[in-house]
Symmetry: C3
Subunit: 394 residues, 3 copies
């Protein structure tokens, strides 16, 4: 969990402008020495700018230098990350330089991947052009791999201003990047999360990204790498949430009951077998059935890895038995202000539900197959049995 899926040795912003020729040589040294030990892929970032031919030419020279077969780094290098791209014709310029690099060094055409950093309005527009351009015979854009959002430079390019200087959250950019990745079989990755100490914020950003189909995120520190590796994984144990207007509170398991300890919701059984429920200041009198219906709307279940695998296996069995849809049922006993109440949640699963539920499992399988170094830890986390079933389901 300490190693990222993709390691990006940086010769752009992290290196002083005057030191970048040495920076490229540094990358060669580090990768040729340690590349064989690294379990993920290696994609150095070189300099590039849509508005500056000199920067583009330097990026080209650095790529030539880094992949020189005599320097023995190229055998560990999977591709390059190109920052500051502009519209789709600018992407093609970088692609063409990589094609020439491949030709010069006797590498197979298209064998080096290319990832771009979307950090300008022009590049965001290019995301919508990509599908029409990616398979044209005069380019090798099929080498594209990651679409990375770079929010700091994007904010500058969009001339956006916030009172505190914080970055806007740019939901539309992230949507468009994710959509471009999905339409072209690529992977959408979010940019750096600046506030390094704010682990909760980093998690919140990943949750938000995942709901947009943006499955990766830049990591700046070893701590962020571990968080980023773990965040997309379903939890080991499921949990119940109670979601009121303001936020979702996790219910605490006690014996077999789930206890609500917040103050946004108050419940009292009145003498005549009816209930008084107060949610965010609104008070209502309800009978048991009405109360159940009300609470049903407020509680949510976060399934564990085991739960997801279970449900998928159940649906697969049902499908083999000729059923197109089955109901998945889940019961829970809630304890709110000393009042106990039983609730059953059911959800209809059909082929589409099944396939949508499959995304975290497919991601798990993809990472597991490519990251032998994580096998032990994952088995420790989930148990060998769950991991094996997760690898076989779907």
């Amino acid at each position: 969990m300490e190693a990222p899926d993709v390691w990006v040795p940086d010769n752009e912003d992290a290196t002083a402008p005057s030191m970048r020729d040495e920076g490229a040589e540094n990358i060669v040294d580090v990768v040729s020495e340690h590349g064989s030990d690294f379990p993920g892929q290696i994609h150095p970032r070189v300099v590039w700018h849509r508005n500056d031919p000199n920067t583009r030419y330097r990026g080209f020279q650095h790529m030539l230098q880094i992949t020189d077969p005599e320097k023995r780094a190229v055998e560990f290098i999977d591709g390059f990350v190109i920052p500051e791209v502009g519209d789709i014709d600018d992407w093609k310029k970088a692609d063409e330089f990589i094609t020439i690099v491949e030709e010069e060094h006797g590498l197979e055409e298209g064998s080096l991947a290319m990832s771009v950093i979307v950090e300008s309005a022009q590049a965001e527009l290019a995301l919508a052009d990509l599908r029409d351009e990616i398979s044209k015979p005069t380019n090798n854009l099929g080498r594209l791999f990651l679409l990375v959002d770079g929010e700091v430079d994007y904010t500058k390019d969009m001339r956006a201003i916030t009172p505190t200087g914080e970055l806007p959250s740019w939901p539309e950019l992230r949507h468009n990047t994710s959509r471009g990745a999905s339409a072209n079989g690529l992977i959408a990755v979010d940019g750096p999360y600046d506030d390094i100490r704010d682990v909760e914020g980093y998690h919140g950003r990943m949750t938000d990204n995942q709901a947009k189909g943006m499955l990766g995120i830049w990591s700046l520190t070893p701590g962020q790498v571990v968080e980023a590796n773990k965040a997309p994984l379903p939890p080991k144990t499921g949990s119940w949430l109670l979601d009121t207007n303001d936020h979702a509170a996790e219910l605490k398991e006690e014996d077999t009951r789930y206890v609500y300890e917040g103050s946004a919701l108050e419940l009292e059984e009145t003498s005549d077998g009816r209930y008084r429920l107060r949610v965010d200041g609104d008070e209502r009198e309800l009978n048991a059935d009405e109360l159940r219906e009300e609470l049903l709307d407020l509680i949510e279940y976060v399934p564990s890895m085991n739960d997801i695998v279970d449900s998928m296996e159940k649906f697969q069995a049902a499908k083999e038995a000729g059923k197109g849809a089955i109901a998945m049922e889940q019961s829970v006993t809630l304890l709110i202000d000393r009042t106990e109440i039983n609730i059953t949640k059911d959800r209809m699963w059909d082929e589409a539900t099944y396939q949508a539920a499959q995304t975290p499992i497919t991601l798990f399988q993809d990472v597991y197959e490519n990251r032998l170094d994580q096998h032990e830890e994952l088995k420790k986390m989930y148990g060998r049995n769950v991991v094996e079933r997760a690898m076989n389901v779907g």
Copy 2:
């Protein structure tokens, strides 16, 4: 109100894959028998997939089968719904098959409508290409009718993950679908709302959709059909809302006053003729004018059908009298914590306000003209006089 505007007999997800040839025959049986009684349009859904030529060919065969003139269903069929389309060239493949179906069965070219389900990133991108393609001479895309969002499959295609497995709300997709519909004279329709028992949630979704210009929604149950028919209609009686940070509370009419019963806002008249107002914990001392200004920002009026027709008639009369803009005034007496206060809200109406206000009326007129079966119920709901004026205004 029990019949939808469009009935979609389904031969895709609701039918087991092995039963779809029989499913097509079923549609023929049902439509030929009951088609003449159904007051809306009929558009069966056939199978299709951007990535699978075999599925596309089956969809083509089912369309041929369903529209066979000898089977006597085609006279009631207005078009087909094509799911799982990809980019615009994939839409053209479906369009071409329908053209061939029309030719084979002696139907007028372009007479069968085509609706698509937007449930992939590719199809979302196609929404922006449509205007450039829709009137090209080599296709009949002019047959397009509904653009339907399919969020379950879209979530899968975008590889999105949420902790609870709930669907993301996809505001950008819905915006882009609505925009595509508006730019091409089509109708944007939202996909199924899974939680069948959650009537409030279904309503909330429709309100959100309508604010995006997405005027239709899929209905899965008879109950949802009634809700979906009624939701876009302006209410019979207007209502006043008081909107604090957290949510909008409807004020209760008592005699001629509107009473606030929530707890987010507290008001007290102090001895010296001034007021103490507390909103969400912030307390302020105000004089009567300042109080009125403050409350003006917090209250909102939801106009009834009668109110909207009234305002439109007033503006039309003003326009005929040579005025370009008039002020619409509305007074209300509020009762908050036993303190009574009079407030007058006015809004400037010009041609643009008038035309924007017209959307719900135009929708009403459009449905009314096409759905003779709803006339009685609408007259019962609003009164004959309001309905007649609503049909004549604008």
Copy 3:
């Protein structure tokens, strides 16, 4: 501050349809008489409609009329605002008419600017096509200047409905307009804010717009002009905010301490040197370090003009000294419920942070250079020294 950067004498919605020929003559009279006194640019709005050739032809005639050299208004006119444009080919029609106007009146080709009002789905789609079209040899779209959103007509064109008749906030439209402006070197401007008395709402809208890179806004009244001129300027003095779930409260400076007076957060020092913190109802026991970390997440600083210039100068000096990144530190003493606590916030600045922080300064410099009439007031507001440093930094 009383004059806008751009004055748009209106011959569209503000003029009755039957009076528009006289309206054009009025513009000639007013501009020829007062044009030399106006410190900003002058761009009259003429009639146009994507669906109506007659309206387009009238707009053409009005432009010919207004720019007639003999009428002596043209020397003060910088361009025209074209409302109700459709897709990009419709923009070209307006551009072509302006080219003919220039030719007829002996003006340099491309010398009259063209601004468009984006108030249809088609025009929103055109924003994404613009970069491919703007430099084609057969048009003069290089004359484009402002991209203005017109939300009232857009709402009508999108057929959107809200219960109260209020306009939707259309975040996607504003994003796409800002993106189109950034990708093509133009300026994105938001449309009119109808509720003229609601100064707070107008401010909130500008803050939201600026976070999207939309730096201008329509002003309908002299009061709105002043607000719109001042809102994008950094404040004279910085301020500390405490941001809880619900909203950000400004802390009150007392001596050298910043006092929190809200009720969303409660703090108490318990006898054993530990703290009890209650945020939005969630209570936690913390030691001093944990408390500091928690508060660090809740407080924000809004920098003054002086602060921004300071930070930029510091970073420039560091860069000259060969450093690529430096930490900017800020300390504050908070007083919450009589408990005093010291907090230090630091942020890493690199080249990208520096450039993103530069946007408000660049905007300030741009306005300052073009608006000699604002120099005195700006110096009075910030002090001569800060203004001079702001003009020299970056």
